[in-house]
Amino acid sequence: MAYNRPVTVTVLLFASIAEAAGARRIEIASAPGETVADVRERLLTERPALRRFIPTLMYALNEEYVRDDAVVPDGATLALIPPVSGG
């Protein structure tokens, strides 16, 4: 069943967190039913230096703002959004 297949998530990074990571796009393998917070923990396991950005991050799944308890569908794009400063 599909339930046992890994879920691939594309994580997008911008601005300060992208510079700190030295990457703008990271593929993460997660499991079905995992939330944004779960995927974030997987990312931090790989890149613990990014933890300092977490308190002010917002999240977007497939270009819609979500809370970190939103479930991440397979193939989703999860954007980590630092406090915005456009205008």
Partner: protein, 150 residues
């Protein structure tokens, strides 16, 4: 509706033309421009970065909401990215409306909301360093208005 994130120079005529309407008695135009100082520091230039596809989507949603809330005829919202020099336009908004009051009120709300929600970031570059600005106006730095913080 003209909604665009672009590295090209922003031209007010383009935005004004995009909101022209026979029902409009007022067109409100707002230009956000690059200032040579911030919080007491001399700024050399700014670098803007966006999540372009989402930024355009959020800008369109905000513009639709402004039209519905303030009874506007049309809106144009353009944001420039890349390196911008002092005096260049980073944000260009035009609004047409039947009367001036809704054009001013809608324009003010539109600019304020764009600065809170649209995924665009600016980096200040000084003579002796640089830093990403984590906007105090961002909803990410405020009490979660739409419960979007985890």
């Amino acid at each position: 509706m003209l909604i665009k994130v672009t590295t090209d120079e922003l031209r007010p005529e383009e935005a004004i033309a995009a909101v022209a309407s026979p029902a409009a008695g007022a067109i409100d135009l707002f230009l956000g421009v690059v200032r040579d100082n911030n919080l007491g520091r001399r700024v050399g230039y700014l670098v803007y970065e966006a999540y372009p596809s989402m930024a355009e989507k959020v800008m369109a949603e905000i513009a639709e909401e402004a039209k519905a809330t303030f009874g506007l005829e049309e809106c144009a919202v353009l944001h420039r990215t890349g390196r911008l020099e002092i005096g260049e336009t980073s944000l260009l908004i035009a609004i047409s409306s039947g009367h001036r009051a809704s054009a001013f009120d809608g324009g003010r709300w539109l600019v304020d909301t764009i600065k809170k929600k649209v995924p665009v970031w600016k980096k200040e570059v000084w003579e002796d360093g640089e830093a990403w600005i984590e906007g105090p106006e961002s909803m990410g730095m405020q009490q979660a208005p739409a419960g979007l913080r985890g």
